[in-house]
Point group: C2
Chain length 198, copies 2
């Protein structure tokens, strides 16, 4: 096989592999409340949000990079599964499971593309650069918005408490003060309306 | 309400509105063959493909623009529904239904963002620029790849014929000769294996 064909085959193999992300379920319900969303739908939503809300990032971000980052940020869950935000036991093994998954999945790609995507995923996870902080803010805002739209169904299913939700949301402040403010107003509103327990 | 707040509210309204795309079904099955995919999942898949396959476009494309274009190319189907590729009756009213949908949906956004997104959608539909031609090639390759992975289930459901599939795929040549070649090899393989009727 020629080198160019081999490269194309690796790209197609990866594209087919990640089709599995459409079957990795999340805990958040769609805004119509009928079913829970999956990782692919969630990632699509975040990418459009990245474009539309970039003007609210604390610092100027590289929009195209943030879009790609959120499109791939959950790909490791093909092997590692979705870890619910408030599941403390599962969180103990999350980093290890996801790092093994990243090794396997991004290695399907040609080396340059695989290394770049893996580095972008690591940047998202470390949440230290301005782009990663903004991407993480979006990743926290989106389920909050859907929880608000459904009257807090997923919160009640997991007996989530306002304090914990607020604490988890706090880091969004480093990515976007605007998103942090807005998210907090949603949390408080849901608390007042009795849709999120104190 | 202050202008900045009004702008943010419009952005959030749009982000919530497009959550509905996750419930617009397509005719293509996921690679596992268990269920059909929806527009949000499909759009997510195309955006990653845009990044990975841009080197195979006939002309150098604006990757970030193509990514955004494919992320939003099906949003009009929230109102207009998915029109199956080989449904000739439905195709007669498609343009009109989709153009009304674009008017309503993109108008939810602040004017600058809504106009830009609507223009990107129109560019995709007109399929005349190098970016749109490449985006359209991806949009045709992805279901072909999934049809191949599932042994042609969706083709058989609709009694699709190889000639028509090939004819519809022909325009991908103007976006990417590589994708056109690869897609044709998939069509021929499925025809030889009896998974796609002559």
């Amino acid at each position: 096989m020629e080198k160019a064909d081999e490269r194309f085959k690796k790209q197609m193999d990866f594209i087919l592999e990640i089709d599995k992300l459409k079957d990795i379920g999340r805990q958040t319900y769609l805004s119509n409340g009928i079913r829970k969303e999956n990782d692919a739908e969630h990632s699509w939503h975040l990418a459009i949000m990245a474009y539309l809300l970039s003007e609210h990032a604390n610092e100027e971000v590289d929009i195209a990079k943030v879009m790609l980052m959120v499109l791939l940020h959950d790909i490791v869950e093909i092997d590692a599964g979705d870890t619910y935000a408030y599941d403390e036991e599962a969180y103990k093994t999350k980093a290890d499971r996801e790092s093994k998954a990243a090794e396997r999945i991004f290695r399907i790609l040609p080396k340059d593309q695989g290394s770049y995507m893996k580095a972008l995923w690591e940047e998202f996870e470390e949440n230290e650069t301005k782009d990663a902080r903004f991407a993480n803010s979006l990743d926290k805002l989106q389920p909050l918005m859907l929880n608000d739209a459904t009257g807090g169904v997923a919160w009640r299913e997991h007996a989530a408490k306002a304090d914990k939700v607020k604490k988890r949301f706090d880091s969004t402040k480093t990515g976007s003060e605007k998103i942090w403010e807005y998210g907090n107003s949603l949390i408080e509103k849901n608390q007042c309306e009795g849709k999120l327990e104190k």
